[in-house]
Amino acid sequence: MIPEFGLFCLILALCFGLMVMAGGFNRSLAILQRPATFGMCAFIALGFIILVFGFLSDDFSVSYVAQNSNTQLPFMYKLCAVWGGHEGSLLLWVFILSLWTLGVTLISRAMPENIMRSLYAVLGAIHVGFLLLLLHTSNPFLRLLPSMPKEGADLNPLLQDPGFVMHPPFLYLGYVGFAIPFAFAMAAMLNPKESFSWAKWARPYALLAFSFLTVGISLGSWWAYYELGWGGWWFWDPVENASFMPWLVGAALVHALRVSSLKPIFNSWSLLLALCAFILSLVGTFLVRSGVLASVHAFASDPARGVFILYFLAVVMIGSFGLYIVHLQRRAAVSRLQFVSKESFILLGNIIFVSATATVLLGTLYPLIMEVLTNEKISVGSPYYSAVFVPIMMPLLLLMSFAPYTFWEQDSPKALFSRLLKPLLLCTGIIILVGYFAWLSLPAVSLAGVVLGILIVISSLFKLRGSLSFNKMGMIFAHFGLGVAVLGISLTTALETEKEVQLAVGSSVKVANYDIAFADLNEQEGPNYIAKQGHFVISHNNQPVANLYPEKRFFTARETMMTETAIDPGFLRDFYIALGERFHDGTWSVRIYIKPFVRWLWLGGIFVALGAFIAALTALQANYKRREA
């Protein structure tokens, strides 16, 4: 009975969603919009809670629960198994969308009535689209009656991991969060006569979404690093690209909104970015959920879902871009920019961000296009991205290290240089020092990355001098974080050591300057798996440095083998050991990595997210103050 009630909740939410939408067309219905929004959000939340309850109570009569859970599954993973499959992750998508909508409804009340009406209607329409998708093609409450299974098929072992508990919610908070700037942009374009500074209202949400997306991508990369057992942290996999493209456009958007929230220039450009960020999120959803691309993440896919998302995407794109074209025809005269000014540098950075996104989009969609056109099956690998994406981003990093020092509106190169002199001197010193030690050991691209990383880190830190506002703090944090991440990426790619060896218990191998001994092998038993656990001792000059316990787990419900890597994390280097397979003579294949500076990558990500978060809170507070005034 309870699962049916869940389904009923979703249907009710759909009805409320339609009411919210209708308010946008009919002024007399607009009074219902706010209560209907609350109703919609409440019923989506209730539906979500019912699905969670289904998982916690092992209700295997629900098909989705039976496919993704098991009585032996630990409590924590039962909870996150809710979004372990297609139906549940779509429900999570809608649930998070409703949370964002609720947030906007509660916080942003002091807007012109017409704007509010359009805003509700756009958000309502997005809800309706996704609820229809959920109900039409992927009902999470579908029953397996009367022959219900006694035991569930278990959650995919790859996903049974703490990193996975948080990865999708954060990623979706980011993805879906771009719906809010999108809705503000649409509302602004639908009501051209209202004098409404949409950028001021949209900015905190864009920053929040960007911040969450950064956390989500970092978590995903961290999870891939330790869970997949190949020591990689980014694969240019289509699904990773799907989350990366909104991130790039989102980065451009938060910068453009900073300008347009202060003055009317760039307004059209910001509008376009706000539309693109959300549309790329939808494209991402389509790529992941339709399974059109061969990918690590592709789950069982159903063409009906892909087709539905594609239609939805088409409606959104035609609607929003059509409105945008109308908007362009009535736009005010273009104001001129002086080249050496903060505005023009932000615009330049934006153009680079957008070009980079375009190359990623091309690489992601190219196999699809080619298959349709020539029926040839191809894949685009990481060499394409290193050849194209990296050189495009380098000028951006350079720009980032000095653009924060420019003044708004007008500046002179000479004055800019004098402001940059001190940080530049320090950078030169450090770079000479680094160059002295590492000139020969680093390939050119990594060296360039290191130099740019140092420039960004130092120039951001120098901005700490003088008066500090929270907004400026946010900028410094985010830029500093990106600098740290760039350093991490450059150094770990250039300096990592990888070795695959065949080892017997009791024997040892030398990797770089470390002796790695396979000391012992034990049997372990987990709640839903049995494991063989190795014990490795890493020592340097006969001094033990670390003990690592990698495992090979056999998950009984799905009869699958999983590698559980063991990592000794460190600020300057990680030791990473994964067990391969056991051979007949009792030896094991073992994969050993020493990865210098790899932590900096995620550390940088945290700083970027934190910076965006601080800036978002300040922007929210500023909006709040304006309302009071």
Binding site: K377, E500, Q502, M561, M562, G580, E581, R591
Partner: protein
């Protein structure tokens, strides 16, 4: 034509040329870095440049997996018409099993064997590289 117009035309031309060069370079990089997918039958029927990185895929034949020393592995894949022997040095993915689908990235060696740099097995029982799913459905 005023000076302003001239300036504008130069600017537009520069942007256009820059854009063309950029797009050209990107497309060139793309064409250099795509990996075509072949089935064992296509490997037999089509000629492939010896140093080109390609992907091959098929089902691993039962009983064909052989371990040599120092992590060298050899196995045969089939599309139910032809077979290809794949050589690889390294650790096989967890989900590699005889009788299941696999995709390998690498080059065709001088003896007609496929020298793989990377072996990808399917990641869960629902997922299969689409190329292999097609093979399976053609067979049945």
């Amino acid at each position: 034509m005023s000076l302003l117009h001239q300036k504008r035309i130069v600017l537009v031309l520069m942007v256009a040329v820059g854009l063309c060069v950029g797009v050209g370079l990107v497309l060139y990089a793309l064409s250099k870095n795509i990996n075509l997918f072949y089935t064992p039958t296509q490997l037999v029927t089509e000629t492939i440049a010896p140093n080109k990185t390609i992907r091959v895929g098929g089902m691993v034949e039962k009983g064909s997996l052989k371990h040599h020393d120092a992590l060298a592995v050899e196995f045969t894949i089939t599309d139910f018409k032809h077979q290809t022997t794949i050589q690889y040095r390294g650790i096989m993915p967890d989900l590699f099993k005889e009788g299941q689908g696999v995709v390998a990235l690498g080059k065709v060696g001088p003896n007609g064997h496929f020298i793989a740099e990377q072996v990808l097995a399917k990641h869960d029982e629902n997922y299969m590289p689409p190329e292999i799913a097609n093979l399976k459905s053609e067979k049945t």
